[in-house]
Subunit: 294 residues, 2 copies
């Protein structure tokens, strides 16, 4: 099966699981459930869930566990996009090819829907339905909290906002991207390994794949943002450049940034040397990052 077929099959399947894990729009509070569903179901390429599924497959993890953890990560990702788009943050009216959450609903509903999606991620990971072994569940909760919170993604977002119009050094920008994007990808790879009882050697290799992947992914995102339109990107292009965001593309220039992405992807693929064809989709996914058009 081709990567794009595997990605779209996974997206359909993960959407079905996510649907069962979200609240139904009932009671006076129905708009909360509606906003949670609007911003997480039927949208996005579901690359993070795909990564969880692939790393889980490498260690023979039971499908149900892998898909529930994958859903938790996608809920967390959806929360981060909702809050990122808020007027006080990136102030983006479009996301994933449609109106952003606060435009479709309103700002307060978007804040609460993001809060609830974040909380739901931890609810799922800690649920015995996900995997029987509570020590594995705790490891997942703790790792996701570290990847997503003040040690990870939120710190990256803070630097991103503070870096607007400032001159961050190359190292500072790389650290920011690693925190903002890389840590959650690292969690996705780590999750499959932890679910499958992988060794520390293997867990570190999985995370190494993710960090290179994450920065390359961000470089390509910034290149697309520079060229993009709502049509190809699902959000207006040039917004980040307009905001004077610190990006590797702005720092290195288009050609050198693209070259850097290629090097990072080579390193990512190299980190998978412990595995054979069971890691082929992950190798293909890394190449796909360089070629993606949106």
């Amino acid at each position: 099966m081709s990567l794009s077929q595997a990605l779209s099959d996974c997206a359909i399947k993960i959407d079905k699981i996510m649907e069962t894990l979200l609240p139904k729009p009932e009671g006076i509070e129905a708009p909360l459930a509606e906003a949670m569903r609007y911003s997480s179901l039927g949208v996005g390429k579901k690359i993070r869930p795909f990564m969880v599924i692939q790393s889980s497959n490498m260690f023979g993890v039971e499908e149900k566990a892998a898909f529930r953890v994958a859903a938790a990560v996608e809920f967390l990702h959806s929360y981060s996009l909702i809050h990122d788009d808020l007027p006080a943050m990136d102030n983006s009216d479009f996301r994933r090819g449609k109106e952003s959450c606060h435009k479709k609903f309103n700002e307060e509903t978007a804040i609460l829907a993001g809060d609830a999606l974040l909380t739901t991620a931890f609810e799922i990971l800690s649920d015995p339905e996900t995997i029987d072994d509570s020590s594995v569940r705790c490891k997942l909760v703790n790792a996701l909290a570290k990847s997503a919170g003040h040690h990870g993604m939120v710190a990256g977002q803070m630097i991103d906002l503070l870096g607007e119009g400032k001159h961050l050094s190359l190292d500072e920008i790389i650290r920011m991207q690693k925190l903002k994007t890389g840590e959650i990808f690292a969690f996705c790879m780590f999750a499959g390994g932890v679910l499958g009882g992988a060794s520390n050697l293997h867990l570190n290799a999985l995370k190494k794949y993710a960090y290179g992947f994450g920065i390359a992914f961000q470089i390509v995102d910034d290149l697309l943002d520079l060229e993009g339109t709502v049509d190809t990107m699902g959000k207006p292009g040039g917004l980040d450049a307009e905001a004077g965001k610190a990006t590797l593309v702005a720092k290195l220039g288009v050609e050198e940034a693209r070259h850097k992405a290629v090097l990072l992807i080579n390193e990512s693929v190299d980190a998978l040397k412990f595995w054979g064809e069971e890691a082929d989709y992950l190798r293909a996914l890394a190449q796909f990052v360089l070629e993606r058009q949106r």
Copy 2:
């Protein structure tokens, strides 16, 4: 020791633990840590942590475990206040006797600090440092996620916002208060029981105490809001009434609401019938709710 002495001793101690669990303001992202610290350290009466400590004491829980869980709850509470005060939500410039987080810093920092505090709560609960038994840690994570997310507090906040200027029924208002305030108090009581291996009979009694307490607490809050000033309340009085918020005081009138609070507190105290003097601080805390001036 009097209740007020025990409360203030507990507040000092919990602040010290919280301080060690928060990030230091370092690196470019320092404002994130500053905002997390500003909104959680040295402020508030720390009633929720006190409840965790008291319920833990009833079951002989090790002090370190109890205080770490208590700190996690207070971080979660601080997150909810930061997001509640945002311009799109209650738009409150003051909180706990000083400027609210978004006034002191800015809106984006407040959103991120709230997100990070919420995430930190789950990080602490899932950490083996808190308690060795991973099944207990998972129960705490899962219960807090249910109390705080779309089944609980966030749903209550959604109803609160949607109810402004509308005529909610008495039952709807009580459900809203239970979700918005009661569920976290219920978690606090439940946490001590779970840490100490309490029976389901006892866990239910602990939660029953909390639900009555929570609604009575909210009634008194609304009464104080009606009368209050920045001086006594730490935030401007009358804001909720001005916003046309659905409250039990608005629904029942001052006298009947006060009577309802007394009945609820009696029920709360009654739920503690399984315990002797080890629950005396909780009994005193319930009475204190009726008498509090701020």
